[in-house]
């Protein structure tokens, strides 16, 4: 595995059928994707959703044309699969309240302190506009520094920090409102 090779270059190699290139990409992003998934879906389903995401990546890799960064394209698939998950979740639930109670129960162990606060924060995260969700997840789920976030988003460090503050404030407002 060569860390210097860009994602986009690896995609080109993977599109040409090189398994190793694809596996390098997959290894780069497995934990990041998993962290994003487990921050937004019940723990018991995080593995299945992560799997569905990477299956979708394999199936649609040929359609990646390099117009955006690979990570942006990948996180679009992550968001779409999580949205699909919730569509199916609500469709199959006849008793929505019971399911939501289960959802809250499986996100965190019942004996952990403040789990209801966690559920509120996670549900609040779902309600945020996409750019707010994105910057919070880049910092907390992907563990990128603010300088890296600014680079990824193509904005200044000050703008990234400002967006982060507004995102956290918006989340705080949603949690307090609920």
């Amino acid at each position: 595995m060569v860390p210097d090779v860009t994602d986009e270059h690896l995609v080109l190699q993977a599109q040409a059928g090189e398994r190793d290139a694809f596996l390098t990409l997959y290894n780069r992003y497995t934990n990041k994707v998993y962290n994003r998934v487990k921050s937004r879906v019940p723990m018991q389903d995080a593995e299945d959703v992560t799997q569905e995401i990477f299956i979708a990546v394999v199936r649609s890799l040929d359609r990646f044309e390099g117009r955006s960064r690979f990570s942006t394209w990948l996180y679009t698939i992550v968001n779409r699969q999580i949205a699909d998950y919730y569509r199916k979740f609500y469709r199959r639930s006849e008793n929505r309240t019971t399911d939501l109670e289960n959802y809250e129960g499986v996100l965190f162990s019942a004996d952990s302190e403040g789990w209801d606060e966690m559920v509120m924060v996670q549900q609040g995260l779902q309600e945020l506009p996409e750019n707010y969700q994105e910057i919070i997840l880049l910092r907390f789920a992907d563990g990128l520094t603010f300088a890296e976030i600014a680079d990824v988003r193509g904005q200044s460090l000050e703008a990234a920090k400002s967006l982060f503050r507004r995102a956290i404030q918006a989340l705080d407002d949603i949690v307090n409102r609920n």
Partner: protein, 152 residues
């Protein structure tokens, strides 16, 4: 430094500290948001990776999917390279032959029967030749575009 920038920096620094595993006391103005960030950190735990069993199952499934995707890709390529490609080659060749025949007939008509030919008849064969030539250009261009697209 204005007030907003100072707040932006304070909040970013606070996030950095809790993500580094420290438990700093938030300033009064950050108290509510600091709690949100602590909860986020607790819920997401960025350093945590999936366990070995889950990782192994995922690797296995993704490798399987890769194999079947490559298989599908190969068969799609075969269909493209055999059926469509050959079909287009035959169609283009036929079109060229038809166009050449049409042009030759058109030329024969206009040179061989100049005295007896009506203006209408000359016009028909001339039209035919023009249509033939246009058809050849369109089909050959389409064929070349198809080839060029495939090789990209």
């Amino acid at each position: 430094m204005d007030d907003q920038t100072r707040l932006d920096d304070n909040m970013a620094n606070y996030a950095d500290l809790i993500l580094a595993g420290r438990d700093p006391a938030p300033s009064e103005e950050l108290e509510s948001q600091a709690r949100i960030m602590q909860v986020l950190n607790e819920a997401i735990k960025p350093g945590q990776s999936m366990d070995a069993g889950m990782r192994s199952r995922l690797n296995h499934r993704i490798n399987e999917e890769w194999d079947s995707a490559q298989q599908r890709r190969k068969s799609r390529f075969q269909i493209l390279s055999f059926n469509n490609f050959n079909l287009m080659a035959v169609a283009a060749s036929l079109a060229i032959v038809v166009a050449v025949v049409a042009i030759v007939i058109g030329m024969g008509d206009s040179s061989g029967s100049s005295m007896g030919a009506t203006a209408q008849g000359d016009g028909d064969s001339g039209d035919l030749a023009i249509f033939g030539a246009i058809a050849v250009v369109i089909i050959v261009s389409g064929f070349l575009y198809f080839l060029w697209n495939r090789r990209r």
